[in-house]
């Protein structure tokens, strides 16, 4: 725990409360930041306008205004809706987001849970949101919601596979499912005997990185994979009937998950919280910098997350939407075979070089 650096020995309940608070910070702070920075501002710049400018300096408090607006709205439940399932669905989606952040390492000790099967856990809990979306689509008692929910389920299951298979290459190379282990494998790695920048797996697993980012885009149901939401034909897909706070939860779930996938991608492919070893060696002669990294690490992770979410939103607001059959074809006929070939080649090279 970070607190050991402050010479504190927190009791179990203290560290649990601390972790709980930090989980909210780790989910909501990046979500708010990227929504303002990218969803409000960058997209406006792409369309040659300035975006929100009135709330706060340069519109920076716009999110607070949106929050206030959504909290005041009436919480509508359709008359024929399955009330319990309808009300529970946004929580299920949001829970999957919070479960996902648990295994992300933000520093040598700054993790919520250092699981030995961290990658497996992360990829497993992403599937929970599918259940939430199906619940929302089914329980809304609306044709738009049902179609959106079914499309989302089909898409999320189709793109779960390339997501998992893309990570397998990294796991083979690192030789561990532990996310901390993957980070240290990248720090200790060498490029042809030179360990100056470690070996970020994006260099060897660039195909895996590409597949991962495409699959993430689809998992988030962001354009070009936003067939489940498709506002021109399905109103808002599975979110059609939701309003007020429940809609806000879907909204937070969507954009917070984008950040957490970006965190995950930066752990798997970009070296996570580490700084390149040649800089670390120059700064910390004794080679023991793990205490400082517990504080610098989250910032580095934040920087990498900003770069990756920039790509996610950049793609999102550049491309038009895939048709449903194109979308399925792209997953099953292109991404999955490519990922399998990538795994085979990685495995072969692993055997050859070691």
């Amino acid at each position: 725990m970070i607190t050991s650096f402050l010479a504190l020995e927190p009791a179990y309940w203290q560290s649990t409360i601390f972790k709980l608070l930090m989980a909210f910070v780790a989910v909501l702070l990046p979500a708010g930041g990227t929504v303002y920075l990218y969803l409000f501002k960058m997209v406006s710049f792409m369309q040659s306008r300035l975006g929100p400018m009135e709330a706060g300096p340069y519109g920076s408090l716009q999110l607070v205004a949106e929050l206030g607006k959504n909290l005041q709205k009436e919480d509508l439940i359709p008359a024929k809706a399955d009330r319990f399932v309808y009300a529970a669905a946004p929580y299920v989606v949001l829970v999957s987001t919070f479960l996902l952040v648990l295994v992300i390492p933000f520093g040598p000790d700054a993790t919520f849970a250092d699981l030995d099967t961290g990658v497996f856990f992360a990829l497993a809990v992403t599937s929970v949101s599918v259940i939430g979306i199906l619940m929302a689509g089914w329980a809304s008692a609306s044709k738009y919601s049902l179609l959106g929910g079914l499309r989302a389920a089909g898409q999320l299951i189709a793109y779960e596979l390339p997501l998992v298979l893309a990570v397998v290459g990294v796991v083979i190379q690192a030789g561990t499912l532990n996310l901390q282990g993957i980070v240290s494998a990248q720090i200790d790695g060498q490029i042809f005997g030179w360990g100056g920048i470690g070996n970020p797996f994006i260099l060897t697993q660039f195909i895996g990185f590409f597949i991962f980012m495409v699959a993430v885009q689809a998992e988030l149901t962001q354009t070009p994979f936003d067939m489940p939401i498709a506002e021109s034909e399905l109103v808002a897909g599975y979110m059609t009937e939701y309003s007020g706070f429940r809609f806000l939860m879907f909204f937070i779930g969507e954009f917070a998950t984008a950040n957490i996938f970006a965190f995950l991608a930066s752990v798997l492919f970009l070296g996570g919280w580490s700084i390149p070893p040649f800089i670390a060696d120059a700064l910390f002669a004794d080679g023991n910098y793990s205490n400082i990294m517990n504080f610098v690490g989250p910032l580095i992770m934040g920087g990498k997350m900003l770069v990756l979410t920039f790509i996610i939103y950049w793609v999102r607001f550049t491309y038009p939407r895939f048709r449903e059959d194109q979308l399925q074809k792209f997953a099953w006929k292109f991404l999955i075979p490519l990922a399998l070939v990538n795994i085979a080649v990685t495995g072969l090279l692993k055997v050859v070089f070691e």
Binding site: M46, L50, V315
Partner: protein, 166 residues
């Protein structure tokens, strides 16, 4: 054309637009603080020059939305020359345009044979209550101040440039 080159090009377009907006500013203006100048003959609001109106009702009949309401009566005016017959003139009792209905087609302005209606480029007259969008003849006459002069036609044109009555 390599596979995927169009995708890269697309990303380039949006990125170029970002840098353009950041470095050179946006194409839009921040409305309540800054205002765009409307084109000189922009169709903002219709102004009425009351003195020219004879309540002939042509505009009322031609209006596709039936948003103009005119009521008038005849009055006797003193004769032009001494000893002559008193003249009969039309007096406007009511000239309303309901901008809640108006679709800004401009047929009334076109059709007016006495040059009583003019386009003004003013556009800031929205109201919280829809009934307040009914402009009566005092309000319509006030818009006359904002009517710009007609532009001179291009060289060689034989049409006379109209003058806006002030």
């Amino acid at each position: 054309m390599a596979f995927g080159s169009g995708l890269v090009k697309g990303l380039g377009v949006t990125f170029k637009e970002i840098t353009k907006t950041v470095t050179k500013g946006a194409e839009t203006v921040q409305y309540p603080h800054q205002k765009e100048d409307p084109a000189p003959r922009a169709r903002g609001v219709i102004a009425l020059h009351e003195g020219n109106c004879t309540s002939c009702m042509l505009c009322v009949r031609e209006c596709p939305d039936w948003c103009i309401y005119i009521e008038g009566h005849k009055e006797l005016a003193p004769p032009r020359r001494a000893g002559g017959k008193p003249r009969q003139v039309n007096k406007l009792d009511r000239f309303d345009i309901d901008y809640g209905l108006c679709m800004y087609c401009g047929i009334c302005v076109e059709v007016c044979p006495f040059e009583a209606l003019f386009w003004s480029p003013e556009y800031e007259y929205s109201e919280p209550r829809i009934a307040d969008l009914l402009h009566d003849k005092t309000r319509l006459s006030q818009w006359m101040e904002t009517v710009p002069d007609f532009e001179t036609y291009e060289a060689g044109s034989e049409a006379k440039v109209l003058k806006v009555p002030r």
